[in-house]
């Protein structure tokens, strides 16, 4: 009950956010362990990211990718260890955006694209306040930034997969997020939609927004990001794809699900870590 009152007190201040310490890393994770009742999700994970960095997170299903994102977002409290965003715990920030997997969203919910993007403003509005002209302007701008201005009044069930994902990025922009955690945003999208999203990620990088993207596509993870994080409960590597995608590390991460084939200069990794929703990845 005291927690609830404390929550209320905090949220009654509009735009409430924890101060950002100067020079503190945008994200610093130290000795993070998360234990669930049926096992360990993350064990002794430590790393830090620099501002504006774009990092891919790969690892087999159940490797703890979503858990890691949720701990960073302040949704799950870690069993041990610490997360600090710009020098403070995640719980006080509203600058962290978690973009859910598309299959975890109720697309029949009676809202349109603008409604969803406006949700990003709610944290800054404060309780009992309605959106002002400035908020509507931010929402309109966010929709333009992701190329969805024409679909502003579209019901969300009528969007394509790529449009759905761009809508969530627009919501994060409306939230004025500085750290974006995207849970498998590229899964199930065609090449054009994926490219549209990479285009937006490039623009985010220019704005110094730090982005973590979990994916099953090792090729994209290696080629389209500044650094790759290989995760299987433990942090198996974080660095350039050359440093991380070594035979030993890949086999440690994927075990029997991975076949390594030497193809000339290149090392070819053949994997099929199919996901819960049944989408195929190679």
């Amino acid at each position: 009950m005291i927690n609830i009152l404390d929550d209320l007190r905090k949220s009654s201040t509009p735009g409430h956010r924890e101060a950002h310490a100067a020079n503190a890393a945008v994200l610093e994770v130290s000795n993070l362990t998360v234990r669930y009742e049926n096992g360990i999700a993350l064990e002794d994970v430590s790393f830090h990211l620099t501002t504006g960095e774009r990092v891919s997170v790969v690892g087999p299903n159940g490797a703890g990718k979503s858990t890691l994102f949720k701990v960073i977002a302040g949704v799950i409290t870690p069993t041990q260890g610490q997360v600090s965003v710009r020098g403070y715990g995640p719980g006080g920030h509203i600058c962290i955006a978690y973009l859910p997997q598309r299959n975890q969203v109720d697309w029949t919910f009676p809202v349109n694209v603008t409604d969803v993007v406006m949700m990003g403003r709610v944290g800054r509005l404060g309780l009992l306040r309605w959106p002002k002209r400035q908020d509507w302007a931010v929402v309109r701008q966010s929709l333009e930034d992701v190329g969805l201005a024409d679909l502003a009044n579209r019901q969300i069930s009528e969007l394509s997969g790529g449009q759905q994902q761009r809508m969530f990025i627009a919501r994060a922009l409306a939230q004025e997020a500085e750290l974006l955690l995207m849970d498998e945003p590229l899964t199930g999208l065609d090449v054009n939609s994926q490219e549209a999203i990479f285009g937006i990620l490039d623009e985010l990088q220019r704005r110094e927004v730090t982005v973590m993207v979990s994916t099953h596509d090792l090729d994209q993870a290696a080629g389209r990001f500044d650094r790759v994080m290989l995760l299987n409960h433990r942090l198996l590597g974080l660095g350039t794809s050359k440093e991380v995608f070594t035979p030993e590390r890949l086999v440690t991460a994927y075990g029997g699900h991975l076949r390594l084939v030497q193809a000339g200069e290149e090392l070819l990794a053949v994997a099929d870590t199919c996901c819960e929703d049944g989408d195929a990845h190679e």
């Binding site: 609830i4 929550d7 939230q175």
Partner: protein, 285 residues
């Protein structure tokens, strides 16, 4: 005067009918507004359980008050608020699945209520009154309580519109925006509990879930915008309330059942029309 006008006006000669119409209309609006969230969050079973779980509260009030009707409202409110918080806490805090926890609590509480009331000799009559309501027995002071609490419920839902929207559509977003998610969730539980208490006399415990769910479900088939869904649900519910009472008056049918059957008919008609339209491709589904 034309005959249909006479037909419409005759029941209004009786003050108890006028009070019944007012009660049915207000309860319809309140339940439909709250019920929109019940439908969107998939909480129909929670609503049904909550209605049943207040019976022991009613029973205590009934035994303590020696059958006086006045204090029952407050006893029901106490029981409803405690049950909603209890069900919320149990379903969050244990390994048991939420619907199982609700089932256990609801059946246990309901049985306790029946056991308590059964200690009184005339218990079948009184039990029936609690189970099925009696909108025609609504007194002026009941009407005031319905108006005050119903108004509070609707105002709260409107005040917290954007917070409840975020909490319902994307609970994780509510947390990352640092909204007081737990407090909001309990607030919604309590609003549902209050709506149940306010509607108690109109439809009774057994049919309560229909007031919460049916109009909102019918409205959800007609629109894809939340504010419109809420408004349509309120309109369907209040129209059902009024038509139901006319049916009750002329066909001599139990009032609560007549109201619920009317809104069920609305739902069935809309569902049928939508399904046919979808098959023909008139509506894009």
């Amino acid at each position: 005067m034309s005959s249909w006008l006479t037909w419409l006006l005759t029941p209004l000669n009786y003050p108890f009918m006028v009070r019944g119409f007012l009660a049915a209309w207000m309860v319809g609006v309140v339940c439909a507004t709250v019920g929109t969230y019940v439908v969107l969050r998939g909480m129909a079973f929670f609503g049904d359980a909550l209605a049943h779980a207040i019976l022991p509260g009613l029973a205590v009030g009934y035994l303590v008050g020696g059958g006086a009707r006045g204090p029952l409202f407050w006893w029901a409110m106490l029981a409803a608020v405690l049950s909603s918080i209890g069900i919320g806490a149990i379903s969050k805090g244990t390994k048991i699945r939420e619907d199982t926890a609700i089932g256990v609590v609801f059946a246990g509480m309901f049985a306790l209520g029946i056991a308590m009331i059964s200690t009184v000799r005339s218990y079948t009559v009184d039990l029936a009154h609690f189970l099925f309501g009696d909108v025609l027995g609504v007194s002026l002071s009941d009407l005031f309580l319905i108006g005050i609490f119903g108004g509070l419920i609707v105002i709260t839902i409107l005040l917290f519109y954007k917070e409840f929207l975020v909490l319902t559509f994307d609970p994780l977003l509510a947390v990352t925006l640092r909204l007081p998610a737990r407090a909001l969730e309990y607030l919604l539980f309590i609003l549902i509990a209050l709506a149940v208490v306010v509607s108690l006399q109109t439809v009774g415990i057994a049919l309560m879930v229909a007031m919460l769910v049916t109009p909102a479900a019918a409205a959800s088939l007609l629109t894809r915008r939340l504010p419109i869904m809420m408004t349509l649900a309120a309109v369907i519910a209040s129209v059902s309330g009024v038509i139901g009472l006319y049916i009750s008056y002329y066909a001599n049918v139990a009032s609560g059942a007549a109201v619920v059957l009317t809104s069920t008919a609305f739902f069935a008609t809309i569902w049928l029309v939508r399904t046919v339209q979808k098959k023909r491709g008139v509506w894009d589904g």
